[in-house]
Amino acid sequence: MEGFAALYIFMLAAFTGYEVISRVPVILHTPLMSGSNFVHGVVLVGAMVVLGHADPEDPVQLVIGFVAVFLGAANAAGGYVVTERMLAMFKGGNKKQGSA
């Protein structure tokens, strides 16, 4: 089932992603987009791995690897900060102030 394992993971992950955010209110569209943007910042990990295995003698490889890690880190860090700021708006403030 080798190749199929990947396919199953893909299918199930897609299902999970889809289900997990169904019924999201409009007001959260942008923060959620930003949040998922942050999550794929995990590409940083991949970038680190490839840079880590790049030939230290080959400047082309090092440059590409550096760029990859730089971009990945920026994605992760920027995504987090921006999302966090957006979601700070929901900080309870507007919640039930007293039930009718």
């Binding site: 992950a13 997990v20 409009v26 943007n37 690897g65 730089f70 971009l71 920026a74 994605n75 979601l87």
Partner: protein
């Protein structure tokens, strides 16, 4: 052992990412969600340093610190209103990183076999498009690039470019050891494709496009995850790819723009920057949008009219108002002197619904407040909120004082269709930029809004 530990950590990270995303889809838990995901990200990064045989650690740390701090700082300092372009650019960077990973794997000659090559090429293509497309989106939103820019025969050009790029990709996949030139050409084409796809899209559609590119990046990351056999990338990337796709659909639906329209027949919203749009169009709004906008407003003023009476919607309206108040929104009712068809028509209905008198204001009491009002909700009223009464001397309602709802930040009008009011004239309000139409008989429309307001609570 190290490997096992790293894989286990990645597994936990993937689980936390999913849980975090789930939390982010409800206003109540959203903040917790991002924080959890943040911890997971840090853990993943730290753990990766323990990968056996990892070299270039100094360079790596440098890149992380440089990229991370630039992004962190810009994200912290940017104005709230500039957020969308920041999301775009960070997303682009993620796509770029995915593409760079593919590039490096090719450079290292580490891509073996047609399946892996296909995945790598696909990831590189999608990542590149996300990268260059996001850059364009950023430039537009930031005002660096002013005009939507349309090639003649845009759609044809798109198709040709896409075909060429795909062809190049195919060549790379089948050639055992693809030449550097070939690879570079492929990336150039892929990046160009992102540019020409995004260029013609107008400012109004940008959020949808960014969301789409976000899904792209997710997918690219997932694909590169397969290339690197890294499950954290696979799962996180795929989940984001799927979630992002759904989100893109939801956003397009909320804006009433089918996703294909966004890409293939863009509205040149950027043009609005120049010639003042005097006419405008009537823009539709869904009940969910109305609910969200009101739920997170601080002040909502409800303007009932004859339509509310016809629909007998007063009970629903009051129920909605109460729900909003429970959520901390300030709600007031504004009654125009001649709303309805008899003196006190609205009073009778609101009293019937149980609206307390201290929430009901007349024109003189409330008209000055509209500029501070977040949302004016007009329910089945028409003539009494028609700004032509202030401006157009020829109009039959000229000189009648009106409720200045057009001065509120947002106006939502609930009515069944294009029906005119008692005086039979067109209403200029409906065409204003800050006005949205929620079509439907008031009873049902408000009922739907209630459902969504409630859903926002839970």
């Amino acid at each position: 052992m190290a490997n096992w530990f790293i894989n286990a950590s990645y597994f936990v990270v993937a689980v936390v990412f999913i849980i975090g995303l789930k939390a982010m889809s409800s206003p109540v838990t959203a903040r917790k969600g991002i924080v959890w995901a943040g911890y997971a990200m840090v853990a993943a990064t730290v753990v990766t340093f323990f990968t056996p045989g990892l070299g270039n650690v100094g360079l790596m740390v440098l890149a992380i610190v440089a990229g991370g701090s630039v992004a962190w700082w810009s994200g912290k300092t940017v104005k709230m209103t500039d957020m969308p372009q920041m999301v775009a650019i960070y997303n682009g960077m993620g796509g770029g990183a995915a593409a760079a990973i593919a590039a490096l794997e090719f450079a290292r000659g580490e891509v073996h076999g047609p399946v892996v090559a296909t995945l790598a090429v696909a990831g590189a293509l999608i990542g590149s498009i996300a990268f260059s497309g996001s850059c364009i989106a950023y430039a537009k939103l930031q005002g660096i690039m002013k005009n939507a820019f349309r090639l003649p025969q845009q759609n044809l050009v798109n198709i040709v470019m896409a075909a060429l790029t795909a062809l190049l990709g195919l060549v790379i996949i089948i050639s055992d050891v693809p030449s550097s030139a070939m690879i570079i050409l492929f990336f150039v084409f892929a990046l160009a494709l992102g540019v020409i796809l995004t260029c013609p899209i107008g400012g109004a559609d940008m959020p949808v496009v960014i969301s789409l590119l976000n899904a792209f990046t997710g997918l690219a990351v997932g694909l590169e995850g397969y290339v690197l056999a890294n499950p954290a990338l696979i799962v996180a990337g795929t989940v984001v790819g799927a979630a992002g796709t759904l989100l893109t659909q939801l956003m397009a639906k909320a804006m009433n723009r089918p996703i294909t329209n966004v890409i293939f027949t863009p509205i040149s919203g950027a043009a609005a920057g120049e010639g003042e749009a005097i006419e405008g169009t009537m823009k539709e709004f869904s009940a969910l949008d109305a609910a969200s906008v009101m739920r997170y407003a601080s002040k909502v003023v409800i303007v009932p009219g004859y339509g509310m009476a016809v629909a007998g919607a007063q009970h629903k309206v009051w129920e909605m108002a109460q729900l909003l108040e429970e959520g901390g929104v300030e709600v007031a009712f504004a009654i125009h002197p001649v709303a309805g068809r008899m003196p006190g028509h609205m009073n009778v209905l609101l009293a019937e619904a149980g609206v307390p008198y201290d929430k009901i204001f007349d024109l003189e009491e409330i008209n000055a407040e509209f500029p501070q009002v977040d949302v004016a909700l007009v329910i089945g009223a028409n003539d009494v909120v028609n700004p032509v009464a202030r401006t157009d001397k020829t109009s039959p309602i000229y000189g009648m004082p009106i409720l200045n709802v057009d001065m509120a930040h947002n106006v939502i009008v609930v009515k069944r269709g294009k029906g005119a009011g008692y005086s039979g004239i067109e209403n200029a309000l409906f065409y204003k930029d800050n006005c949205r139409m929620l079509y439907g008989s008031a009873q049902e429309a408000i009922g739907e809004v209630i459902t969504h307001v409630k859903a926002l609570e839970s």
